[in-house]
């Protein structure tokens, strides 16, 4: 049930009529009221039934954050009266749905399609909350209104802002694989094939045994290892909620993880994914060939920072729990704070480093670096000292990790993704995967 501005206008006209017609007798206001009520009720009775309307959603099911998705809604009117309605396709505020309402007329036993554009401002699953139909009578004075559930979900994927770094990293990778240069020793450690010696080849790569069987000198060629396994571990505990710049650490870590996934997929490596705080939040295992990038992007979409402390022991056992496939590169995207690393991770690191190559990547906060350079008055110097203390702690933890054979990548938010890609390429070039 609802009334429109027209009904209110009509009521105020009734006030004027009652005022002017007052000398006619005391019955005037009651007649005016009765007429008003009758008109409203008749209009309400003639409105199409809003409860029997059938609503069906359709359209996009996923969208990258920052882009626009289109969702349509089919409004079917099974009744015998035309449906004159305002329809609200209700989404959460962060879905950025526009327009908010649709005015439409659906003929009897007909259907109409309305389109809503979603411009989400947050990552994650956007569920349709409900659809409300307000069905007006022929005079548009009164309306019947009801809300319906018409489920539809649009998964908002991480934006992958670091994609712009991908071409340059891919060309580095190709250089590594020798597609731009001749395959020479030193650019990989995996034996590829034998071929005839040409002047300029490294004499150290001559395969003397093969040469002895032939007339010509034969060299071995090498190529970077392929089909290596990489496990991306995303720490979603409380430290990932801290904002660096405008975004939580988690978003920066996801960005870096996505660039690494894309790069590794091109390099022929397999990427697994694990998100962990006190329990497994998301897990993607690569099965067979083909890139896991779409699966990882989709798994990342609903992840949110959880306000709990990281359970490092649980994380290590989750990493080790998968099927035993031998050595892999474990990329741990976490924060270099004493609470996380010293008390949680370090005591259990040896079980991890014994079987895998571990790389810890962390977002550095440029704000702390700026604080460390503040000078001028006592308060600024105290701030600088506190920042220096934080930086020294992080340096100490990074040094401690390196001492135990862990690779450490620490870079400001914007540079973490390329820095992590560089670290991966360096490891690949050294044949350490």
């Amino acid at each position: 049930m609802a009334v429109t501005g027209r009904a209110v206008f009509l009521a105020f006209v009734g006030v004027a009529v009652a005022f002017i017609a007052a000398p006619a007798g005391r019955w005037v206001p009651w007649v005016v009221l009765g007429l008003l009520l009758t008109v409203l009720l008749v209009d309400l009775a003639l409105a199409a039934n809003s409860r029997s309307v059938r609503l069906t959603h359709g359209g996009d099911t996923s969208v990258r954050l920052g882009e626009q998705a289109e969702v349509w809604l089919v409004v079917a009117n099974p009744g015998r009266r035309p449906l004159r309605a305002t329809v609200r396709d209700a989404w959460r505020p962060s879905a950025g749905a526009a327009p908010r309402t649709h005015d439409l007329v659906v003929p009897p036993r007909g259907q109409r399609l309305v389109r809503t554009a979603l411009t989400p401002t947050r990552r994650g699953d956007q569920h349709n909350a409900h659809v409300t139909v307000r069905s007006y009578g022929p005079l548009r004075l009164a309306a019947r209104q009801s809300s319906h559930t018409a489920p539809w979900t649009v998964r908002v994927l991480p934006p992958f802002r670091s994609r712009r770094h991908l071409p340059s990293k891919l060309s580095q990778l190709q250089a590594l694989e020798g597609q731009h240069r001749t395959m020479v020793r030193g650019q990989g450690s995996e034996f590829d094939s034998l071929r005839e010696y040409v002047p300029g080849d490294d004499v150290r790569s001559i395969d003397w045994r093969a040469t002895a069987r032939r007339e010509t000198v034969v060299v071995r060629t090498w190529r970077p290892e392929r089909d290596r396994r990489i496990l991306l571990v995303l720490d979603t505990s409380r430290t990932s909620a801290g904002r660096v710049g405008d975004l939580p650490r988690l978003e920066h870590a996801m960005d870096a993880a996505l660039l690494l996934t894309a790069l590794a997929a091109k390099a022929g490596d397999r990427v697994d994914f694990l998100a962990y705080d006190r329990q497994v939040r998301a897990r993607v295992r690569s099965e067979g060939r083909g890139s896991t990038l779409p699966a990882i992007v989709s798994a990342m979409a609903p992840l949110e920072p959880e306000l709990v402390e990281l359970d490092a022991a649980g994380m290590v056992s989750a990493i080790l729990s998968g099927p035993r496939r031998g050595r892999q590169l474990v990329v741990l995207l976490t924060d270099l704070t004493p609470a996380v690393v010293e008390t949680g991770l370090l005591p259990r690191l040896s079980t991890l480093t014994a079987r895998h190559l571990v790389l810890v990547a962390s977002v550095a906060d440029p704000y702390v670096t700026r604080m460390a350079a503040e000078r001028g008055n006592a308060q600024a110097v105290y701030r600088a000292a506190a920042a220096q203390r934080t930086l020294a702690e992080r340096r100490r933890i990074a040094a401690e990790l390196r001492r135990r054979g862990v690779e450490v990548v620490e870079a400001p938010a914007e540079e973490l993704a390329p820095a992590l890609a560089d670290a991966y390429l360096a490891l690949k070039a050294q044949g350490r995967l």
Partner: protein
């Protein structure tokens, strides 16, 4: 995903089922309230009213008089008082300021004794000639009778003295400028003037000899209690000033405003809630530590952090390892700048035993930061 839609807004039947319970409760409550309101008589709350039970009323005195066999007639107009008063009755007049001038004249003609409680000057002059107001608006206080009036002597002290009078044939309860109770014999009637309302009030009837004084004064006779009703308001008919159209359009106006409220207030479907993310800066702990340093003036810790930061940064530049001794660092630094090893050592590691010149005041700490910056610049540029 393309599941059929289902309506979840309540239908009329759902609404009725949901609201009938509360509705029945509200109706029952209203019914009970109405029943209680009808069955319980309303009591007047007036000042010195013989039917009022509030502290300022006088129901207690009237009840006691009735219990002692006296007939207490409450007269709310002079007409009623005249009808009830006889030669054997006592006319008790309270709130005489409500009397109109012609009422005052009629009162003086009524038969029987009279007890006037704080009468107006008009009534005083008409009913008890020769009695003058000596002082008024004083605080009520216990006074001693100090006279030969039997009723007063037996009652003892009473809370009187708000108004004092001079004159009269018999005067009791003297104050500084006059008496608080005076009696005049006038045409065979005894007119008693009481200078205080205090003894009559419910809340002070039990104090001192208040009750006894009044019971003695009124003893054994029927009482006509005259409490003049406030003069009726002038018949200014408000509705005569209003245009009849306004009155008649009022119901429609109310309905129009109700519709307006409903139009603006009716939401197009329920609100959609959203779980908002936590907003906390990653640098929060660092800033917290900075505030802690500032509030505690922790110069020693701040200086240590600044110094170790510089040493950490300079070590790779100087080609030294992380475990280089302070003297080695100082020597390596002084080789690349203009300062002596001792000065560099003092700057980078401080003086032992609290003799550090950079920790004396905040200004020194600022100086230390600048000196360290200068040193770092020199080493890097050398």
């Amino acid at each position: 995903m393309t599941a059929p839609s289902t309506a979840f807004s309540p239908s009329l039947r759902d609404l009725w089922r949901r609201t009938r319970g509360p509705l029945a409760f509200v109706l029952a409550a209203v019914g009970i309230a109405a029943l209680v309101a009808v069955s319980s008589p309303t009591r007047p709350v007036g000042h010195l009213d013989p039917e009022a039970v509030t502290g300022q009323g006088s129901r207690a005195l009237a009840q006691i008089l009735r219990k002692r066999g006296a007939d207490v007639t409450v007269a709310r107009s002079v007409d009623a008082a005249a009808a009830a008063a006889g030669p054997d009755t006592v006319l008790l007049v309270v709130r005489s300021h409500e009397l109109r001038p012609d009422d005052v004249a009629r009162l003086t003609d009524l038969p029987g004794d009279q007890l006037l409680v704080q009468p107006t000057p008009d009534l005083l002059e008409a009913a008890a000639p020769g009695v003058e107001v000596a002082a008024s608006s004083l605080p009520a206080e216990p006074l001693e009778p100090d006279c030969s009036l039997q009723a007063a002597v037996m009652a003892g002290s009473a809370e009187l003295g708000e108004t004092l009078y001079t004159g009269g044939s018999l005067a009791c309860y003297p104050g500084e400028e006059g008496h608080s109770l005076v009696q005049v014999e006038e045409a065979g009637r005894t007119i008693t003037v009481l200078g205080s309302q205090q003894p009559l009030r419910n809340d002070s009837l039990a104090l001192e000899g208040n009750a006894a004084l009044l019971l003695n004064l009124l003893a054994g006779r029927d009482v006509v209690w005259l409490i003049p009703a406030p003069a009726a308001a002038q018949p200014t008919e408000l509705h005569e000033l209003i245009h009849p159209g306004f009155v008649l359009s009022l119901p429609v106006l109310v309905a129009a405003f109700a519709l307006l409220a409903f139009w603006r207030g009716r939401r197009l479907g329920p609100l959609v809630a959203e779980r908002l993310p936590v907003v906390v800066r990653a640098s929060e702990t660092t800033e917290g530590r900075a505030r802690l340093y500032t509030s505690r003036r922790a110069r020693d810790r701040a200086a240590a952090a600044l110094r170790s930061g510089v040493v950490d940064r300079l070590r790779p530049v100087l080609g030294l390892g992380p475990d280089a001794a302070p003297d080695t660092v100082a020597a390596a630094v002084s080789a690349r700048c203009a300062s002596s090893p001792q000065q560099v050592h003092a700057l980078l590691y401080g003086e032992p035993d609290g003799a550090d010149p950079f920790l004396r005041s905040d200004a020194d700490l600022v100086r230390l930061a600048d000196e360290l910056d200068r040193l770092e610049r020199e080493v890097r540029q050398s």
